[in-house]
Amino acid sequence: MANFTARMERIRPPRWVHVRFPRGAMFGEPGNRAKHRRVLEDTLQAAATIAEPGGKIELPYRWEASPVVFRDRRITEGP
């Protein structure tokens, strides 16, 4: 799984899911266990679904909390 499409295209992983979450929160907002579980389960399901090398699945979830502040930037999803 990753939130950085350009980097993953360079790395060429066997299979991956794209999550649109900010740095440091790959499974969603703090305290949102239900979302953490859905992201985890969808990610693992992707491993069973993707049948071609380099296959990618875009997860539909979005960040639903205040932006993450890091190095003077306010982040709501990956680059």
Binding site: R23, P30, L40
Partner: protein, 207 residues
């Protein structure tokens, strides 16, 4: 998710682990395409000479503007031949997680701390802490499940959605400039450990 699910060394070659501590960085054969390494190694030293003072000054965009990113020519692939309900899942986090009172925190170095810390899969989440200066540590510390969702993992096993979790999970710091060392030492050591643990599917959780 990149588990090659093969034993990456010859039969009879033992690897010594310190349970609950770290994996020794002994050399294991690399299965992935390593043709980029020679060129990378040549370019790395020149890049690092210029980049080091910039990194030390925390000028990361400038420091990494000319980083010699490896150019991979192959996409590795191992089919998943079992259902999720049958697999033993391995997990690698790059968040710099460690167990308080058990592991030393990762150190903040210019080229990145190369250690590999193992975390028992039955670890209490409150034991975990983070040492990764390139991440919003305090934000993550508020809920480690954002980077390592142990409770949801265990729930999926309990509900038989996945077979089981490998006995140990692995933690590294994702900030590493020496990509050749990551490929030749870190990745191979983790792959060997996961193979020893019978991992069938590996989940890499970067941050």
């Amino acid at each position: 998710m990149a588990c090659r699910c093969r034993r990456p060394r010859g039969a009879g070659e033992a690897i010594i682990y310190r349970p609950g501590e770290e994996i020794a960085m002994t050399q294991h054969p690399m299965l992935a395409d390593g043709r980029w390494i020679a060129e990378f190694r040549e370019q790395y030293d020149a890049w690092f000479t210029d980049a080091r003072p910039l990194i030390e000054a925390h000028q990361y965009p400038t420091a990494f503007k000319n980083y010699p990113f490896p150019a991979f020519t192959e996409t590795p692939w191992t089919p998943l031949t079992r259902s999720l309900a049958e697999v033993r899942l391995g997990v690698l986090s790059t968040a710099g997680l460690y167990r308080k009172g058990v592991n030393a925190p990762f150190t903040d170095t210019v080229e990145g701390d190369p250690r590999i810390v193992e975390i028992p899969s039955d670890a209490d989440p409150v034991q975990l802490d983070i040492a990764h200066s390139h991440l919003p540590e305090d934000f993550i510390r508020a809920d480690m499940s954002m980077v390592l969702p142990l409770e949801p993992l265990r729930a999926l096993v309990h509900e038989r959605r996945i077979g089981e979790i490998a006995p140990r999970l692995f933690s590294v710091v994702g900030y590493r400039t020496r990509a050749h060392d990551v490929a030749e030492q870190t990745a191979t050591a983790i792959a060997a450990a996961m193979a020893d643990d019978g991992v069938m599917l590996g989940l890499i959780v970067p941050v």
